[in-house]
């Protein structure tokens, strides 16, 4: 089956600066949750914004990004806007900041529908209430008119998810969707994303720096470092047989598996280009033999 998201040799450069993303290729199949991990500045959010067409005007994007076989690179802003919120959607780290504080939550969900479907106000409202119920807002009809600050952080992220998925897009990009939430709420939001992808067959690109999140829901994982995609593996393989030395360092630095009282290993600050090349070559050799 052809992948829902097919990124080939994508590169992003801001102004005249160094490449923020270099030669990244990855494919995500329908219904899959693909995790993209890496430290801050590794380029994972830049890839997400490139797919959505939300890069700033100074950014230069090359390579190919296909959504359901359709090329997105080179599309006009208005052509991309028609696809955003309809065929592809994105949610962000801070749900409180993602919602307009002066609009009722229900209207913000209905707005996504009305931006893409010729439905009446009442119809959009009814759909929005149904969506609120689906993402777990109790008493949705009564809470439709409430403004965001009357909801908890976890509830707000549920509303953001409902607004993003209102038109049942094929692809959901979740950029650190649980980072701003506490651990129990984190798990609930991840379960919600997982349930929605199973119910609707949504493909999910989950961007995170948290390997615990990856282990909970991702089918496959890509590891990014300094704008490059170092390795792609199934979640199980990544945790049990990491191919790339950087991935091993990243796994070793995960506090979840640490022994109390011992120091956490530190990822070397600078991986020189040579060591990265050598490590990549070693990974490729192992892949060829394995």
């Amino acid at each position: 089956m052809s992948p829902v998201l097919d990124i080939a040799q994508a590169g992003v450069r801001f102004g005249t600066g160094p490449a923020a993303v270099k030669d990244v290729s990855l494919r995500v199949a329908q219904g899959e949750i693909f995790g993209l991990v890496g430290e801050s500045g590794s380029g994972k959010s830049t890839i997400a914004n490139a797919v959505m067409g939300l890069l700033p005007a100074t950014a230069r994007l090359d390579g190919s990004i296909r959504l359901n076989g359709e090329e997105l690179v080179g599309l006009s802003e208005s052509a991309l806007r028609v696809r955003r919120g309809d065929e592809m959607a994105m949610i962000f780290q801070d749900a409180s900041a993602s919602l307009d504080p002066t609009w009722s939550v229900g209207d913000q969900i209905a707005e996504t529908i009305r931006a893409h479907r010729p439905v009446s106000r009442a119809e959009a409202r009814a759909r929005a209430i149904a969506l609120m119920g689906e993402v777990g807002i109790a008493d949705a009809a009564r809470r439709y008119r409430d403004v965001p600050h009357r909801f908890s952080g976890g509830m707000r992220q549920r509303i953001v998810i409902a607004a993003a998925l209102a038109n049942h897009p094929k692809l959901l990009i979740a950029d650190e969707p649980t980072t701003a939430l506490d651990v129990t709420i984190q798990a609930q939001i991840l379960e919600l994303i997982d349930r929605l992808r199973r119910d609707h067959g949504t493909t999910v690109l989950l961007i995170t720096h948290d390997l615990g999140v990856v282990g909970q829901v991702c089918d496959r994982v890509g590891v990014m470092y300094r704008g490059e995609l170092l390795e792609v593996a199934t979640t199980e393989d990544l945790f049990t047989r990491p191919a790339h030395p950087y991935t091993r360092a990243l796994l070793a630095a995960n506090p979840a598996g640490a022994v109390r009282g011992s120091r956490l290993p530190v990822i070397p600050q600078e991986w020189s280009t040579e060591s990265l090349d050598a490590a990549n070559a070693a990974r490729d050799r192992r892949a060829a033999h394995g």
Binding site: G85, I91, T112
Partner: protein
């Protein structure tokens, strides 16, 4: 709805002490005149009998508190006092003068909003050329003094082009078209400076909102740029714009005093100016009281509008 109702009641309660404090200030004006206010009012040729009569009429021989309370009592019954020169009741006089001032400031405010807010949005969303043009307008509008602009407009439209009358006033009920024609120059004079303030405020408020993360999410939802600006950014910028409008109403009422004199409009401002030159203190008192009351009422309305625009404001202190 109950949110707005309780917010309105709370805001109305706050207005009561503000009005009282304002009335004390206005009351004190006449008592703070150096020397004997009655002799100042009547001039040095007044006889002792005249002075005694006026002092008795104004109640100045009684204690301050009792004077204030009876003045306040009369105010609450709608009695602003008496003009000491014409002996006319001030309530009637102000009822004639107030519509002129309200028309002048109201039309100026609406014109300034109609120019300043759309230009501000344009400036916040447009390119560098738009930015430079609007910035030029802001600098000119804020720098040019009202009275100078008024004189120049009169020179241009009544002196050179003979399009509009230089001054004077016709009641709206008598001849609406002529009334509005005579309002054009004074309204423009007041509106240009205000429009510049509203442009600047709108530009910075809308610009700030457009940098908020929720705008990125709106774009990710596929919402059109037009709707992002007018449906979301302008609504979020609303409280800042309304706050500045509320403050500028005070500036405008002050400006109206000059402009009414310049264009010979029979408004409250000109009444106060005449009252000051004739040392007709009850008139000054009543005029200032009226203008201050308008300002307080407008501030109240603006606060209610802000509470309606931003639910976080009206929610504060409810629970």
């Amino acid at each position: 709805m109950s949110r707005m109702l309780s917010f309105t009641l709370r805001r109305l309660l706050i207005t009561i002490p503000v009005m009282l404090a304002m009335s004390v200030l206005v009351f004190m004006i006449i008592r703070l005149v150096p020397g004997d206010p009655v002799r100042t009012m009547l001039g040095f040729r007044a006889t002792d009998a005249n002075v005694a009569e006026l002092r008795d009429q104004l109640g100045l021989d009684r204690s301050l508190l009792s004077q204030y309370l009876s003045w306040l009592g009369n105010l609450l019954q709608g009695d602003l006092g008496t003009d000491i020169i014409s002996k006319a009741p001030l309530t009637e006089l102000l009822a004639q003068r107030l519509p002129v001032t309200l028309e002048l400031t109201g039309l100026s405010m609406l014109t300034a909003i109609a120019i300043g807010v759309p230009l501000g949005v344009w400036s916040a969303t447009g390119g560098p050329l738009v930015r430079r043009l609007t910035e030029g307008f802001v600098i000119l509008g804020i720098s040019i003094p009202d009275f100078w602009l008024g004189i120049m407009l009169v020179l241009l439209f009544s002196g050179i082009f003979l399009l509009l009358p230089p001054s004077g006033w016709v009641p709206f009920a008598e001849d609406p078209v002529e009334n509005l024609r005579r309002m054009i120059l004074p309204v423009l004079t007041l509106a240009v400076g205000e429009a510049a303030y509203f442009l600047r405020t709108t530009r910075s408020a809308v610009g700030t909102v457009l940098e908020q993360p929720f705008v990125t999410f709106l774009r990710a939802k596929g919402v059109s740029p037009r709707r992002i600006v007018y449906g979301h950014a302008l609504r979020n910028a609303g409280p800042s714009i309304v706050t500045v409008i509320g403050i500028q109403v005070g500036v405008l009422l002050g400006g109206a005093i000059i402009i009414e004199t310049l264009f010979a409009l029979p408004g409250v401002g000109r009444l106060v100016v005449t009252g000051i030159t004739q040392r007709n203190y009850p008139v000054v008192q009543a005029g200032v009281l009226t203008i201050a009351t308008i300002f307080i009422v407008v501030s109240l309305l603006m606060d209610l509008l802000i509470g309606w625009l931003d639910p976080r404001v009206s929610d504060a202190g409810t629970s």
